[in-house]
Symmetry: D2
Subunit: 337 residues, 4 copies
Amino acid sequence: MLIITKNKLNLEELKQIRKFLSDKNVDVIPVENDMRHLFVVTGRCGELTRNEIRKHSLVSSIVEVGKPYKLSAKSSLSQKTKIKLGNSLTIGNKKIIIMAGPCSVESKNQILSTAQEIKKVGANILRGGAYKPRTAPYDFQGLGKIGLHFLKSAADEFGLPVITEVLDVRDIEIVAKYADIFQVGTRNMQNYPLLRELGRQRKPVLLKRGMWATYKEFLLAAEYILVGGNSQVILCERGIRTHVPETRFTLDLNIVAYLKHETHLPVFVDPSHGTGRSSMVRVMSRAAVAAGADGLLIEAHLDPGRSISDSDQAISIPELNKLISEVKLIAQAVNRH
Amino acid sequence: MLIITKNKLNLEELKQIRKFLSDKNVDVIPVENDMRHLFVVTGRCGELTRNEIRKHSLVSSIVEVGKPYKLSAKSSLSQKTKIKLGNSLTIGNKKIIIMAGPCSVESKNQILSTAQEIKKVGANILRGGAYKPRTAPYDFQGLGKIGLHFLKSAADEFGLPVITEVLDVRDIEIVAKYADIFQVGTRNMQNYPLLRELGRQRKPVLLKRGMWATYKEFLLAAEYILVGGNSQVILCERGIRTHVPETRFTLDLNIVAYLKHETHLPVFVDPSHGTGRSSMVRVMSRAAVAAGADGLLIEAHLDPGRSISDSDQAISIPELNKLISEVKLIAQAVNRH
Amino acid sequence: MLIITKNKLNLEELKQIRKFLSDKNVDVIPVENDMRHLFVVTGRCGELTRNEIRKHSLVSSIVEVGKPYKLSAKSSLSQKTKIKLGNSLTIGNKKIIIMAGPCSVESKNQILSTAQEIKKVGANILRGGAYKPRTAPYDFQGLGKIGLHFLKSAADEFGLPVITEVLDVRDIEIVAKYADIFQVGTRNMQNYPLLRELGRQRKPVLLKRGMWATYKEFLLAAEYILVGGNSQVILCERGIRTHVPETRFTLDLNIVAYLKHETHLPVFVDPSHGTGRSSMVRVMSRAAVAAGADGLLIEAHLDPGRSISDSDQAISIPELNKLISEVKLIAQAVNRH
Amino acid sequence: MLIITKNKLNLEELKQIRKFLSDKNVDVIPVENDMRHLFVVTGRCGELTRNEIRKHSLVSSIVEVGKPYKLSAKSSLSQKTKIKLGNSLTIGNKKIIIMAGPCSVESKNQILSTAQEIKKVGANILRGGAYKPRTAPYDFQGLGKIGLHFLKSAADEFGLPVITEVLDVRDIEIVAKYADIFQVGTRNMQNYPLLRELGRQRKPVLLKRGMWATYKEFLLAAEYILVGGNSQVILCERGIRTHVPETRFTLDLNIVAYLKHETHLPVFVDPSHGTGRSSMVRVMSRAAVAAGADGLLIEAHLDPGRSISDSDQAISIPELNKLISEVKLIAQAVNRH
């Protein structure tokens, strides 16, 4: 059970409510966000007490937490979450959304040409990394702020929203200036300070599944953002670590079917990381949409062989074009477009 | 490099060719099947020697084994393997083939009614287990021979071919009498005596992937059947063991895309075991066909809640009906039917 | 609940007892072995009925199956299983038993010299494969019967018992003539016909864990042998498939600690397969014994670099010597020897 | 190849050296830390050019990066890393170091009594979490700063150094005031901003392996800290995610043997998380030390059943006492103490 206060409490109010609960033998753990306080009830709490709590002047509502994830559960909302970007684009509707672009922003010209090309073939959102999480400290770490600038300018030129990764709580402010959607990478799925800060933002967050995560852990990570008051979360399957050596990761499409039953949040798939092989991206994009995905996150590059990072999995623009056509046919077959 | 003889050699011929190779310093390991001898060259063998071997009166041909799997590799055959069943059914063509039926044959009436129902909704082949591999010795192990009889009678009544599992080399003869396709279960993917014996059969074999197997190991298991001269092998993905607790197995559709590039053999998917949840079977069937599967193996039951084995994953006949309709739409979207 | 008959029933008796149970509304599944019939009760069975069953003239006893594995559970036996080999060797006592030898028997001289050398450094049992399960049909499959003969002769010369793998139910008879312990490989952990036949033998069986198996599945596989009446089962951890690429398998020593709590059966560890790297075998042998292992299965070769199979993981005789010395020190530290 | 500068370069110097390299057609990616610049050479660089670079006035040295991890590789240092804590304690010497304490600091009295008890039974360092990474936002998140204060006071009282987890780059300063060793949890193994900041600290860091990480990825994560100039890194195995449901994680002791060959850094093991079962902690501690671990990280609690978090895996003080005695015997058996 969660007790949710009307506002953030001042010290006096905090003392008051804690005494109130203590007198009723209700054990709680306080959690706060920038809007309000929450009290997680850890022990028992009978029906009568529950009514008294509900009526307390500082309390907004109480919520039964049957499942460990509450806000992301389907039951918590009467309809699917829809995320509007600008006037014409909505994530979580019948339309399959394609986010495409290079792994890294490499130069102003590269990202400008890419934006033009992906727009031409029908992609909806421009992706590109300015801050890159790299396994080795000696690998290219992204262009940083100037990369953000190149990315946003290119996107604006062609009227595309932008998604880009944020790695560091200290970068949120700057990334927020340039990005329309924050991306949280697989390695940060359980970076709780980052998730909490993104919960305070009022911009959409695409949260990638940790390559080790169970379905429950994934939903609980989303919960960290939702509990902060940011309801615009997009879940993204991107492959898990398994014993299979022939692919970079094992794309787990079971989770798409599962999440569509379990949560109201939009579900995306990243077949580029999920296979690690450019030759498999198109086919697995079709499979993802057939499994119910609301959109795709695709690494596409003007010249995949020359990509600074992840060149094995980037596809070319003509291949992206083909992918989008094929995905449209699948979308229609599952009553979407 | 493989040296393939024209016929099975008698002792005299065997001595003769081994002396011939020994004189040329060619180290070999002999492998034999029921049709011929093969010699696997383990060391070096120069071009000149190669030519002399090729011309030897007992030798049919020599084959370069570039990939560890040779006969299953796409390069070994000019076209995709097609497997004919009766006059009207071909596996490996444009048509998506649906194999459906209960996990276990439970009674004469059950399997007869099932055959009727699955035929009505458009399934193509009747599945049902008479010999069951069960994790515990105390679990129901199948009806055995009488189960085979029930299964075949039911299938004949409605003009359906039959697929059923064979567990034991000593059962091959009896199963062959009743089955149109042998099924090899996941636990037996590397049961080499069983694979070798099935290589001597001239009936199709559906080989399920070991839940631990890499893609290469899967193809090498198929190779054990092919090397015996039985070219009618169907590969079937059925889920792998991963850390995910929410599903029984993780269905690995990446392998479908991979195998369609790598081998000429037909590729099937079993979404019943691959998810272990009846509510996910239909959606994952769509995804499997979108990923390129040539057919599906589905557990369907007249009354899923009462299935003796695997009741969590069996779907009802109306759900199978819906599944087949949806799969047809996906099939059309990928230019199949 | 299990109902165990006094003897194997004839058809008349079988009908009689089934009618008896049916009249009492007790649903059962019959399982038979070569000694007797078992009836697995699948539904409810009240206390009164239970008493009536117990008194039935054909019934020997009834057993409550609380855990899915019954005979391998610690509670089923008042003491640890001890397996005597000849007059002086007992597996399951305080002494750590070392089984060592080559992956494959390669020649008469090789195995003879190996037997001499491993005896000299203090190993207790000679291992060596005559029938080899190989991933590819083109790999060396073992010397077969002549290999068994070489192995047994070499072992006899130095007074060592022999352990060797059996792959095929049809080879059990021949292997039984030469081996003191049957080895079941990882790929055959759920080869139920093989396990059942070994349950009819009266010789020890070393059962390797399937590389995909849970702890429960491993114990249930042992149960297949025990239920047949063969109580001499040795469990052997040999590494599982994980995402780690740096070792061939991940040796799971947690299972040793677990099994020592859970079962009365002796537990061995194979650090050769469990690491796949000869440089790690000695260290992991120490860890295995510290974790409670009753013995080790080690691949040792006169000239590891020239081993026909698995040459990366075989250790030399001097390294085996060192391993045995170090393991003795650990054994003393855990009050064994 | 890495080019390391003598100091951190100003803009002018940076331009100068980039022009110098550019003129010689040497492609580089610059990486900087607080002390200096590094240039990672991404293309070819001949011997002559290499000499010219070496002589450049701004260059300190060039380093060949054969392995992807350089500073953590054994070859980079002539001896093992030893980490001194106060006057009497050294990590990385012959002595096995025991870090013990509760998962979370719960109250002043709890941690004070714990410190006293673990000191009495011979533990060397006090562990305890003040900032807790919890899977669900509704779980207890630690006492925060006041917890740090309780922890440090308790440790000081009994002359014990303190290890505690840091989750957030913004907490490093405050944690540094109270902790003798920073702990980085499994979820943060690839939290690069955190690793980089800890690289700027001059205090030891115990880095836990990501539950998904390969051995190479683990060493590369350590490299992020080392490259910043903080050479006091302790590696800690704590179990990986596998298919096994009977334990919380699979403790991978293979990595201990591997790391002792591969790196000069001390290697610890956390058998509490690595098993998730208090009944297995003692046995696996023995195995870890037999495998070569330099120390152990143990969850111990005055009253394990009442622990706020992770109560299934915490052991009692008497059990810790027994563990330390048994580990000493193993230590002696491997020539340590």
